[in-house]
Subunit: 566 residues, 2 copies
């Protein structure tokens, strides 16, 4: 008899539910429901572009609607489908996206006292308000606990757990005081489904804990109380109310409670896997294994690799995290990423593209791409930095910004669009080079996420700039698929699931297509990448010192060469 | 009885005729006629953005139409007007805009052999194809004739006379061979009106000769034949067919011939002043005197000062030229400028402003300005370089390009618009500082040209950034007014004109309004200017070496400060 798993993917703006056939990975039905509050579910502060918050209630609303919708669709599309044969649920979410909760596990923004207070909401991954606290944590750890930094690339980020909590303490002491604990969304949702959100009962994800909260078994869990107290005297007390153990997603977070079974139309008691971040589960859904780099290309980008825990792995400076078991059990998970990729293109199209390219965003993208694809590398004479939202890897610095140079009086929007895509590809190549320099071979690149599914033009530029084939995963929903894989593993073979993640991947993942690099284009891009690295180092590193007067001249000379070759 | 003078201003895209009352400078009537060929009268090459050419015939067509139109208007508006009381004509034109002519003075592009050949047309001032030749001239002069460079800022430009002629020789030897001579437009038009365009009869302008053709009486005129032959063996021969003497615009170029008297409806025999460049005559029309900087703000910018010839004046590196008599007789004329100002704003509005700001270019400008004027200095967090068309002063380098940095995912078009205006103001301040560092005090700044007349927002930013009052000349047509002043001086007091340029200025020029700097804004802009100078020197000078990692961080910090002060 057929069995299914349900993957729940909590993205930045919506929740996706995906029902997967465990025999072959076939995606029976999927439903996306945007978060209902504000625009795209994100609270923004017009005075401070660093702020990005969400309401946990939005997640539950969109989860309920999307699961019901997916079940309805599966019923409509496949008369043999039986929802009672869904044997497990896996959950991924953005992160680090922590929120303060009270003793019962109720989000503080749902208490009368803090309703509508942004500091009592979920601090979304891309909230950058906590940059000063991040610097403070890095500084203290450099002095007192250098081993904490070794596994997270050397710099603690403003996007992460402790920075956000410390900033909350600094700007909203009343919220901090009322917070019994702080919970990541990827831990909160499984707890809600299991019917127990009491902070000390919640099973915490090794993925969130290890990559963002300085958790490691080598030092016995979270940072020690002395270190936290040195950061802020009140932080030491909080640590007693967080957690001491975090586990990987092949483990059970609990079983579906009656109430949520009814809400979703699923059998109570089925397995709920421990949550993890979207990118990490996405990598599993894309088929990550040793030597494979999975790129999740979306509004931002996550790069995921795994490396056997029994082999020696160096610390890789600037890489977001190296965490035992965060992607696959038995492997170190390696995470890197770019703070904005699709977001940069959206910004450009929304703010700087005239209607001569089309009236809708969709048409603008189409025509920008059409014009830009006629150009050769270097023909536009432009060079950009992909830092409109800071740089996550390898600089780990949110206090950076975008840069475009090379404009003449004839530069057009589609030329800038191409330069922005190229900038994100140069950023991607910078990450690949860094990882390989530290002994982790990248033998294969699999792309997934929205841009991989929709943007062949971008993938070709990525292939040309990196000089490597760009594979695209078979599934368009690798995060939800990865979550479903973990749901099936958590359920186990006796329920019709799988014994290991590798077995599940073999049955359920694959490659759809491959973009091969063009050798001539790669040759030209090698030179432009050298210029990119000069700008990257000049504006992004305090150690750089040198000259830049050749940059504009080299780009002009290349532009002339490329145009004359027509 | 009233007397009038006619000023003819040959701009980049059109010819303006202005009839002025010599009693009080009142502008009776004015008519602008665009050049009829191509878009805005400029031949462009889609494969090479450096190319910009024009047809001399266009000038004659637009002159004829605009003079007739101005006379008709004056007749309509003032029944006492009598066109036979126009006693003189002054002419200004863009430059260096030379063209090849045959022995009769006929433009080569009007001969059957070279019709339609862009290299046989007028090489418009902003044509930048000759950058390699400019470098060659600079290099040779540094070695063999350093005195040639001392008065032109140290670097010979691709926009200038000899670079263009040498490039013509290199790319179109057949055009060069057929050229009996080369004539600047500001010399050609007076010769046409005087009825004799034979190259050896044309009275040449000291303004064009001194600023662009390395002419100086201190070395006996144009560069010596040996130097020219060293540049190219054929250039030595050409020098015999150019000129040995150039004079200032208070002198007569000739008297109006019968044919053109009839064409224009003017008395044959009236005085035609020697021509000069538009900016130089514009400075006179704006009231230039010792200590006054006149800024002509248009698609590009010219900065003009005068300094008494009997005082000691240092060479000023990077300043386009210091030429005895090029603006006012008895004074050194000092010329500096920015290669693109209005052109940058037009580029931006045409290529990168969505229709949400308006459907027409006019409405887009209006709404960009409206939104941008609500911002405080530094609030947008952006910094730009004003080099989309290279940098004329103080770097004298066309192989530079635009740069914008500081973009977030929220940066909007009006913020970039403001940053671009600020960039041009920082460029303006860089020029002022350079001139003052070399001992020429700038006690007063008078603005004129299209942007001065139309853009109070820009003038306020210029005042705030420079920390100096920005005066606006009474006339909107200072170039044509300056030309009319020279027409009146060339005619002389016996015809009802003036004895000296100073007398004519006193009667005919004035100030309309003054923008005072805001002290708080100036204080903030002083810090941003320091960052601008870092970028300026880093990308623009080969001698710079240093760090830049503070630039983005300082801008972000300033943005936060300025936003929080709301």
């Amino acid at each position: 008899m057929k069995t299914y798993s349900l993957g729940l993917d909590f993205g930045t703006n919506s929740c996706r539910s995906l029902i997967v056939d465990l025999d072959n990975g076939q995606e029976l039905a999927s439903q996306v429901v945007p978060y209902p509050s504000w625009q795209d579910g994100v609270f923004l502060d017009s005075k401070d572009p660093n702020v990005a918050r969400q309401e946990a209630e939005d997640y539950l609303f969109s989860m309920r609607e999307s699961v019901r919708g997916a079940i309805d669709r599966a019923n409509d599309d496949d008369s043999s489908f039986d929802r009672t044969r869904i044997i497990g649920i896996g959950i991924d979410a953005t992160g680090s996206s922590p929120m303060p909760v009270n003793e019962e596990g109720l989000p503080l923004s749902q208490t009368p006292e803090f309703k509508g207070n942004p500091d009592a909401m979920v601090w979304l991954w891309k909230d950058h308000s906590s940059f000063a606290e991040a610097a403070q944590i890095t500084e203290l750890a450099e002095k007192e606990r250098p081993r904490y930094l070794a596994k997270i690339g050397g710099i603690y980020s403003s996007e992460w757990f402790w920075s956000k909590i410390l900033h909350c303490k600094n700007v909203s002491p009343e919220v901090f005081k009322a917070a019994h604990s702080f919970v990541e969304i990827c831990d909160y949702i499984p707890a809600v489904l299991a019917g127990n959100t009491k902070p000390d009962s919640i099973v915490r994800s090794i993925c969130a804990a290890g990559h963002k909260a300085l958790y490691s078994e080598t030092w016995g869990g979270l940072p020690d109380k002395e270190f936290l107290s040195d950061l802020n005297s009140d932080l030491g007390g909080l640590s007693d109310r967080l957690y001491t153990k975090a586990v990987s997603s092949d483990q059970l977070a609990g079983c579906l409670c009656r109430e949520w079974g009814e809400e979703l139309g699923l059998n109570p008691g089925i397995a709920i896997a421990v949550g993890a971040f979207d990118a990490h589960m996405g990598a599993v859904g894309a088929g990550v294994k040793e030597g494979t780099l999975v790129k999740i290309l979306g509004t931002s980008t996550c790069d995921i690799m795994v490396f056997p825990r029994n082999k020696k792995l160096a610390d890789i400076p600037g890489v977001c995290g190296i965490v035992d078991g965060s992607v696959l059990p038995g492997f170190f998970g390696i995470e890197a990423g770019q703070s904005a990729v699709g977001d940069i293109f959206f910004w450009f199209v929304h703010h700087l593209v005239p209607d001569s390219y089309g009236r809708t965003v969709e048409n603008k993208f189409k025509n920008l791409e059409k014009e830009a694809s006629l150009q050769k590398p270097g023909e536009h004479g432009l060079l950009a930095l992909d830092w409109n939202n800071g740089n996550r890897t390898i600089l780990v610095d949110v206090r950076l910004s975008g840069l475009i140079l090379g404009q003449t009086l004839h530069t057009s929007a589609h030329e800038i669009y191409r330069a922005l895509i190229e900038a994100t590809a140069f950023g991607a190549l910078t990450i690949i080079n860094r990882i390989e320099e530290y002994g982790v071979a990248v033998n294969e690149i699999i792309n997934c996420g929205g841009l991989a599914a929709k943007n062949p033009f971008l993938l070709q530029i990525y292939a040309d700039i990196t000089g490597r084939p760009m594979k695209v995963s078979q599934s368009d929903q690798t995060c939800a698929l990865g979550a479903a894989i973990f749901g099936a593993v958590a359920a186990g073979p006796e329920q019709g699931g799988f014994k290991t993640v590798e077995e599940a991947q073999k049955a359920m993942t694959g490659i759809r297509e491959v973009y091969q690099p063009d050798k001539n284009n790669h040759f030209v891009y090698k030179d432009i990448f050298k210029l990119y690295r000069q700008l990257h180092d000049a504006f992004g590193t305090s150690s750089w010192s040198g000259s830049l007067s050749f940059v504009m001249k080299d780009l002009i000379a290349l532009r002339e060469t490329q145009r004359q070759e027509d």
